[in-house]
Amino acid sequence: MKIDPHILKFPHSLPNDEADFMIYYPYKFPKVIEFYEQKAQELYDKPEAYAQFVQDEFKELEAAVNEVNDEYGKGNKDDLNFLVSIDQKFNKVFCFKFWVINYVFADGLIHEFYVDQLKAFSRKMVDVIDDIEEYEQRVIQIQRDLLQTDYADIYLVQALHGVVVMSFLENDEFSKEIISKIIPLIDEHTDKNNEKIIELWKPIVDKILDPDDHTYDPLTVFPPDFDEKYETLLDLPPLQLPRNQVRMRGIPFPMYSFLSHTIEFREQNKALKERHDSMIGIIEDIFTEARGKLNEEEYADFRLSYEMARNFSMSKDIMGNVDPILVPVWEGDVHRRINEILSKDQEVRYPHVSHASMFGSFAWYLPPDLKAKVMSPDTSPFNFEEL
């Protein structure tokens, strides 16, 4: 596919870059520009290679985040020098291994280019009819389906798991009577019922969390007839995610919450499952039709545009998997401690609560040596060994 060379250049702005990393990172880590442009040139028209690149980068990201996290766990958390050094390491990892994929690729010019291509091809897919509005709406429908894709991200998979859980609870001897009492209470949508709802859920939650009780095994291990496509997407049985959260937080609340929301959104979840199930067929139909309507070159370009746009969407989901460390540790603990130390003898104005806090807020209040360190360019490329 022909592409204007300027599209492969490092972008000047990003629409979703709410932490304004575009203002800091190209100056702080100038090698990121070269890294991006080299990968863009190499991978812009190779969907499989790009998907592999994302996987590889995620592995490095995960390993690097864990490494910095381990180092943080061992260090002196009252030492400002140490805290700033940890922040800078998190920033470098985040910049090269997260920001490039999650923002620069996914929100940048290449993705925009492929979305524009998809929109243009969608017009060729619809037969021109007298009713212009009808024509435009058919085009919108195809564009919508292509942007939605047949991929289920973590949010949707949780909704799809909700369908499995609901169906099981409604049919299981132990839970069905309890469920019949909980449903009307949840459907009233009032906080007043919360206590009663939790009381009713308790015997079910106790059984789910009891490792010696196997009543809910079909929801905590993969049931034999479980649809493989959900299994491979999230790689977790339906109740595993809230079970993990219960373990991490040490309280059973996430399980109560998940079960209650499974009831609250049961109808929407069913509709989402139907829609998701049909998406695979819808996308297939679009491309089957495209074979008849486009010439070989156009078809290949159409397919490439879809695959690349889908890749960019999927990569956002994959990279978000490190949030359980980045959010509470870096954004939470590290920055809270830095803020507390800096606030002891001065007023820190507008303290950001984001990964960008150091550049966007704290840098102004650091002692001169640390300020110089933070605000000087780091001209080395990313190297896991030298973190």
Binding site: E133, E136, L272
Partner: protein
């Protein structure tokens, strides 16, 4: 000057029976023709049962209506033959055109009310083209069938059309729409691939339906109308028109301004006194009666075509249109404050925020739509709204500044606009 009158043979060529399939049908329309025929043959004061079964090899439409007499059955394959008067199937083409469009052949089996006879005709296009004889067509009469049972079965085989799962869903929807009034009135029980076909019920804003009736030179019209929010497809507004209680057109824009905007007029329009076209799909628009109807409708509905004021625009991230109450979520809120704000989002509210965050998820699921100041095609709000199938407009720049808490708005995720409700 001499003049002589000669008599020439104008027997149609055999291929005419195959060529009539080239009528520009859609699959839904062709199937509807067969159901139209079944409805024409309904027994008064009795619920008509019609089943439609579609498989990869055949399409079977069965009804328990009056069935056809021997003469009617024998003539059913003749072009242009119809005994029906004052009914929709007046032109004697529906069976032949629809079955020829759908497949290369069909078998018609019918048994009239109160008879122990059953008549059967088999048509195969390839065989007809090679051996067909206009004057000698095989017609089977079976005696000794159940007197209590009547009805007609049409089986189309050697299908010309490929029906995907997506199309099956679309056919069911179209049936619900086209035959909905009959189903709702409990005149028709339509079973599609083993499941009852639900009637389409339009969603009217606030449930406000206004009845109207008027006479015009040449006829009279009556019905109801209300507002709906235009859906994914802008063209789905206007009137379902009926003649003699039968649906003629759907989403007819008679008398309405083209490009009617967000709040769209929808309703039922019953018309008497205007003839319909031979394909039963429309009124005779060139007739004086129709022009008079159109004039009257224009005068009546002009004052009701309201275009809400557009107040904001952004990037249309997820399609669909909704109305709701603005719930502001400021990203500067934290801790217990944000929890309280998120819990305050009720079903049907519209979230307005600088940028959504993962912890807004439950509020998003309860909301009817999302409007953000920032973001593009792959921002969190855009992705999640597409996943959860709710409309979303992102990158408006100043929604949080312009839209006050509690304001009623219409969110248009198709075009990326926000309107005052």
């Amino acid at each position: 000057m001499n003049e002589e009158t000669k008599y020439i043979d104008i027997t149609p060529h055999r291929s005419i029976l195959t060529k009539i399939s080239q009528t520009g049908y859609s699959i839904q329309e062709a199937l509807s023709e067969l159901i139209d025929n079944a409805i024409d043959a309904r027994i008064s004061e009795t619920v008509l049962n019609v089943t439609v079964d579609i498989s990869a090899d055949s399409i079977v439409v069965t009804d328990d209506g009056t069935g056809m007499t021997e003469e009617q059955a024998a003539k059913s394959i003749r072009l242009g033959f119809s005994e029906k008067k004052q009914q929709l199937g007046e032109f004697g083409l529906g069976l032949k055109t629809s079955t020829s469009f759908l497949g290369h052949g069909f078998t018609l089996t019918t048994s009239p009310v109160g008879s122990d006879e059953e008549y059967s005709i088999v048509y195969d296009a390839d065989d007809w083209l090679e051996n067909g004889d206009w004057y000698k067509y095989p017609f089977v009469v079976r005696k000794g069938v159940d007197v209590e049972k009547s009805g007609t079965r049409v089986e189309v085989h050697k299908l010309r059309v490929h029906i995907t799962d997506k199309l099956l869903a679309s056919i069911r929807e179209e049936f619900g729409l086209r035959f909905g009034p009959f189903i709702q009135n409990k005149e028709l029980n339509l079973v599609f691939n083993g499941e009852p076909c639900p009637p389409f019920v339009p969603s009217i804003l606030d449930g406000n339906k206004t009845e109207f009736s008027f006479e015009f030179p040449g006829g009279k019209a009556w019905g109801w109308w209300g507002y709906q929010l235009s859906g994914l497809n802008k063209s789905y507004y206007g009137f379902h028109t009926y003649r003699r209680g039968r649906l003629v057109t759907t989403y007819d824009k008679v008398g309405l301004t083209p490009n009617q905007d967000i709040k769209q007029i929808i309703g039922d329009l019953h018309v008497e006194g205007i003839p319909i076209n031979h394909d039963k799909k429309n009124f005779a628009k060139t007739s004086e009666g129709y022009r008079n109807l159109e004039d009257q409708m224009r005068v009546y509905f002009k004052p009701f075509e309201k275009k809400p004021k557009r107040i904001l625009s952004g990037y249309a991230a997820s399609a669909g249109r909704v109305r709701g109450t603005v719930k502001l979520i400021r990203t500067t809120a934290h801790g217990p404050d944000i929890q309280k704000i998120l819990e305050n989002v009720k079903h049907g509210d519209i979230i307005v925020t600088e940028m959504t965050r993962p912890q807004y998820l439950l509020a998003i699921r309860r909301s009817a739509g999302i409007i953000t100041d920032l973001g593009g095609n792959l921002c969190h709000a855009a992705i999640v709204s597409r996943e959860f199938n709710i409309p979303c407009v992102v990158g408006t720049q100043n929604a949080t500044a312009l839209l006050a808490e509690g304001k009623k708005v219409i969110l248009d995720g198709n075009e990326g606009y926000i309107y005052e409700d």
